[in-house]
Amino acid sequence: MSPILGITASQITGHLWAPSTDFDSIATTTVGAGGTASISFTSIPSTYKHLQIRLFARSTQSTGTQNVNMSLNGGPGSTWHRVFGNGTSVGANAQISASVIIGQISGATAASGVFGVATIDLLDYKETTKYKTARALFGFDDNNGGAGAVVQLFSGLWQDSTAVSSITLTAGTGFAQYTSAALYGIKG
């Protein structure tokens, strides 16, 4: 499928550039057979106050649990923090001067049918006087099947005051078929 201007992924639909509700669907992508290396939302309109990504995802990476990296305007970010529970232990960690890990989803070795779910909030995304901070709630469960079920809260920082016009998500070797990601704009 030829990419639609402004958005690249396997199947795209969207109510483009015409917000008419307080919580507006900007674009949606659903991954087809064979998976996709990344999911990108580009040419994001500046007509909203905040953004939310709602994710239902599984990675093609041969692992049980796979990190999801997030970049804004092509920039990988600089700091992330998380607090997590994996069913046996609770913890928290962070990285500075590293690309932002915004969450974790199930990988290819998790039981078939197990997908991670997430909401990612990016407030004040178009402000040019502020750095950008994203907050995310991620989780997947596998009935203690060994994939590494986990529920966690993440935050990520991009030390860049440029208005966000594009968001890219990656997950190792990519996202598996049936992954879906939807970008919403919230008016304020």
């Binding site: 709602r54 529970g85 197990v114 779910v117 469960d141 203690n144 966690q152 049936y178 879906s180």
Partner: protein, 160 residues
């Protein structure tokens, strides 16, 4: 292209007479995600079950939890329900349940749960229903009956 309503209330219930369960049935498959907001008036454990998988003998559910005030993590496996709280609920519970991609018929169903409640605790949970059926019914139950004034609202979020 103008957008239609994206975040829509599907149904809402305020309990008038104490009841053992609150059921949302015939949930349309036309949305992308579901969000349930639960504010019961009773204390005790809370949970939900999906579609007709409401038997106490079911083993199709599981969940993983991160909880506080004393932080900890635990899991519930081969269960007959997905809990909505792991810490003790002494009342004043507020819970938000996200069910993304609920109507697909290919994958298992995953729920994200976050709550706060009396007892100075907050929980984060993720639940799994090992069934590929589209969700068309959610049954909310608890240790105690849902008391008068309990409210549960179900919303649909529709992606483009």
């Amino acid at each position: 292209m103008a957008a239609g309503n994206t975040y829509t209330q599907i149904a809402s219930t305020t309990v008038g007479t104490s009841t053992a369960s609150v059921v949302f049935s015939s949930i349309p498959a036309t949305y992308t995600d579901l969000v349930a907001i639960v504010t019961p008036t009773q204390s005790g454990d809370l949970w939900f079950q999906l579609n007709t998988d409401t038997s106490g003998a079911s083993t199709n559910y599981s969940s993983t939890w991160l909880y506080g005030s004393t932080p900890g993590s635990t899991r519930d496996t081969n269960a007959y329900r997905i809990y909505m709280n792991w810490s003790s609920n002494a009342g004043n519970y507020l819970g938000i349940i996200q069910l993304n991609n609920y109507s697909n018929t290919t994958t298992y169903k995953t729920a994200l749960i976050r709550n706060g409640m009396n007892g100075a605790s907050v929980d984060l949970g993720v639940g799994l229903w090992r069934n590929t059926a589209a969700i068309d019914t959610i049954t909310f139950k608890g240790t105690n009956n849902y008391g008068v004034g309990s409210t549960i609202s179900l919303y649909g979020i529709k992606a483009a």
